[in-house]
Amino acid sequence: MNHLDTLEAESIFILRESYKKLGKLGMLWSIGKDSTVLLWLAKKAFFGHCPFPFIHVDTKHKIPAMIEYRDMIAKEFNIDLIVHTNQEAIDAGMGPQCGRLVCCKALKTDGLQQVVTKYEFDGLILGIRSDEEGSRSKERVFSERNKDSEWDYTNQAPELWDQFKTDFPKGNHIRVHPILHWNEIDIWSYIQRENIPLIDLYFAKDGERYRSLGCAECTGKIKSNATTIDQIIEELKHTTTGERAGRAQDQEDSYAMQKLRKDGYM
């Protein structure tokens, strides 16, 4: 087994473990490369079936092409898709002009919390990776959240030998992170190997491309001429900037992500 085979087998094991052990389950799908890899892994884990719904927390500020692409893939892969928006906050005028972290909290964290409460999820599968940023590098594969989705990161459960946290009080939920140990290049190599369909915003047009996708106002492009996966991988091997450097909310505060994620951000 090579490196990608090992990562794939481990992620499938985690997906199957969450499906067996966690009652009501949903998978967060952001249309980006990581959660699309996750979608593909779920198809493999369950032999072409997806035995739980996918959730898109729509901030109504997403890059328009993402929404078009979302609906197309949902149809093609025959997935049960829950789209949720924190409409109350939108109606009250919430947007990045209110402060980026305030906006992320309202439209993403609170939006997600509303979905968890509404559908009473016991488990949420997310495509975060430990190499994205500091607070994610400290995550567990099965990470408990209380009823308000808060993360007690100073007292995390031990996790060893693939024996995950599957016992927890009713009302709490588990965030499952099947691709936590993949890095950015692993993701791209896997997309290429498996020929996974991907939104074209990642590929360069007019000397620019997106390296990470999010809301239109808070996501910047990078200078790049990479139009193929091979070129992207080559570019990443030599880059000295971080993957989320184009994500404005991360730069608001030295501990922005830690603070957001403590409250339940993905």
Binding site: F13, Q163, I233
Partner: protein
């Protein structure tokens, strides 16, 4: 252009403040493995907080970690040498975060044990050494850091090396090398240090490349624990991960513990390119059987020869990280691959202080951060291997309530006859008893708790403790144990005889059962109906009719009861 390079996972362990995060941070910096943003961010934080730049901040991402200068939780980061890719895991050194250290170390294949040259070997240096041996991490390299603080002195280095080597030798851990370094100044980390020219061995980076990837699971006997059974379409797919060995279509297989046999009909796949005729260790697969049985998660598939051990009683080495102590008599859950079953401790053969190797025989509990040799009994039989034979099926975790609280490895099977419990004995006859255990009401926890008596075997002629803190059976009593079909007689505080129930006739004295509950008997007829009712099964109706908890027992109030045992009938 697929990445097929080898990847090795290494953990850095050692006492708090001995520089684990600094070693890793500097290693990443020197190998240019960090994005620009990461270093800029740390420099900015150092400036904001008025603290000097620390390489450790590159790993200690939490605000609390940076402000207090300690690692709270484990992190892993990737870097590479010309030879291969590495994941390097930073583990906290503070005792309070031992469970996080174990989380980090459990996934590693090799370890760097870091010791501060000036402070020398400390408590966690040893405890972490012990944990490495329990996790089965055999490839270890000891790094003596902060050599700059002892002027790069070779004799002091040799003294630490000698002392640590003696400690680790007792644990059967044999470090591949001892390396003197100064992580902060980058001496001997990625390139040879002139200040340490007396050191002939490798640098840290060279030492990493000398570790080898563990192999061999594929060559071991097949172990395929069932994770789940899917029936999404007309296929009935047995899903799971192969923990050892390999399997091909047509193989005759044995399913344990039910001992049913069948053949592998197919190996399923979602995409055509993944379709194969055989699968092996590490793969997450799905197969179908020739014969359809009722299968469930937890069963283990093997070949007919070299099947796993099936037993409910085994000897283990455990480390305890729970917030409550690990105690005898309480019910826990054991998770071993995909099996989950209730278990309890039969005996603490040894409790060990992992930092001194001092041992306590006959202990009643293991405290947080203790290690212990424990005999465990599971409610139902489970399948496993000795850890020495197969690490994946020879290790387990213990769940206490909602929390994974302990981990352990299996060292062997125990025969039921070898279990030593508190009992009354006459020649070859042994009657297990709980009547000398104490019951308390813990006024802090507001719970009824039971404190077990230290394991003791009373022989005929011996004095028995007929008066305890929470019970008084008087000097003369008969103990009727229908579960063992035996009656013990105590006269004048001395065990005088043990006879079969059928040979016993009612006597007008204190009559208790093996747990010390009074039995409501007033005549020989009562004794007959008591025995008859017992045959129909013990339930609450039976217990409330025949047993009287408070006849000879009381529940005493107590501030705190340490040796916690759940109340049970």
């Amino acid at each position: 252009m697929e990445n097929t390079r080898e990847q090795l996972r290494i953990v850095a362990v050692g006492h708090v403040d001995h520089g684990k995060s600094t070693v890793i941070g500097r290693l990443l910096y020197d190998t240019k493995s960090l994005p620009e943003g990461a270093i800029e961010k740390v420099k900015r934080i150092a400036k904001e907080t008025g603290k000097p730049f620390e390489y450790a901040y590159l790993l200690d991402a939490f605000e609390e970690e940076q402000k207090q200068g300690i690692t709270i939780d484990t992190t892993s980061l990737q870097f590479h040498t010309d030879m291969r890719d590495y994941v390097i895991i930073d583990a906290p050194g503070h005792i309070e975060f031992l469970k996080n250290m174990i989380t980090g170390a459990a996934s590693a294949e090799a370890a760097l044990l870091i010791i501060d040259a000036k402070e020398g070997i400390q408590e966690q240096s040893k405890r972490h050494g012990y944990i490495l041996s329990l996790l089965g991490i055999k490839q270890v390299c000891v790094v003596v850091n902060k050599m700059d603080l002892i002027s790069y002195n070779q004799e002091k280095f040799n003294a630490i090396k000698k002392q640590m080597d003696e400690f680790l030798k007792n644990l059967n851990v044999h470090p591949m090398s001892y390396i003197p370094i100064s992580a902060f100044y980058g001496e001997n980390l990625t390139s040879k240090s002139e200040k340490l020219s007396w050191h002939a061995g490798p640098t840290v980076l060279e030492a990493l490349d000398l570790f080898s990837q563990e192999e061999g699971l594929e060559a071991k006997p097949l172990r395929f624990p069932i994770q789940d059974v899917y029936k999404f379409d007309d296929r009935r797919i047995i899903a799971g991960r192969i923990e050892a060995g390999s399997l091909k279509i047509g193989d005759e297989i044995l399913i344990s513990p039910s001992s049913r046999t069948t053949k592998v009909k197919s190996i399923e796949a979602f995409v055509e390119k993944d379709r194969v005729d055989s699968v092996s260790a590490g793969m997450s697969v799905g197969i179908t059987f020739e014969d359809e049985f009722f299968n469930k998660r937890g069963e283990i598939i093997s070949h007919k020869i070299n099947a796993p051990i099936t037993s409910n009683l085994f000897k283990t080495n455990i480390f305890w990280m729970g917030k409550n102590n690990f105690v005898k008599g309480k019910k826990y859950k054991i998770k071993l691959v995909t099996q989950e079953v209730e278990c309890e401790i039969v005996a603490f053969n040894k409790v060990i202080d992992a930092s001194t190797l001092a041992t306590y025989e006959n202990a009643l509990e293991a405290k947080t951060n203790d290690v212990a040799e424990v005999t465990i009994r599971t409610k139902e039989k489970i399948c496993f291997d000795k850890f020495a034979d197969n690490q994946n099926t020879g290790r387990f975790v213990i769940v206490d309530g909602y929390d994974v609280s302990g981990g352990g490895i299996i060292s062997g099977v125990v025969e039921e006859d070898d279990v030593v419990v508190t009992s009354l004995n006459k020649d070859e006859i042994s009657l297990p008893i709980n009547c000398f255990d104490e019951f308390y009401f813990d006024i802090k926890a507001l719970e009824i708790k039971k404190k077990l008596m230290k394991v003791t075997q009373f022989k005929v002629g011996a004095n028995v403790p007929f008066l305890g803190e929470s019970y008084d059976y008087k000097k003369d009593f008969d103990l009727i144990a229908l579960n063992a079909n035996l009656v013990a007689k105590v006269r004048d505080g001395i065990l005088t005889d043990i006879i079969l129930v059928k040979d016993y006739s009612y006597a007008n004295t204190t009559i208790i059962n093996e747990k010390g509950f009074g039995i409501n008997l007033t005549s020989g007829e009562d004794l007959l109906s008591y025995r008859n009712d017992y045959k129909n099964g013990v339930n609450d109706i039976f217990a409330n009719k025949w047993l009287n908890f408070t006849k000879y027992r009381v529940i005493k109030f107590k501030d705190v009861v340490d040796e916690i045992v759940e109340y049970e009938i």
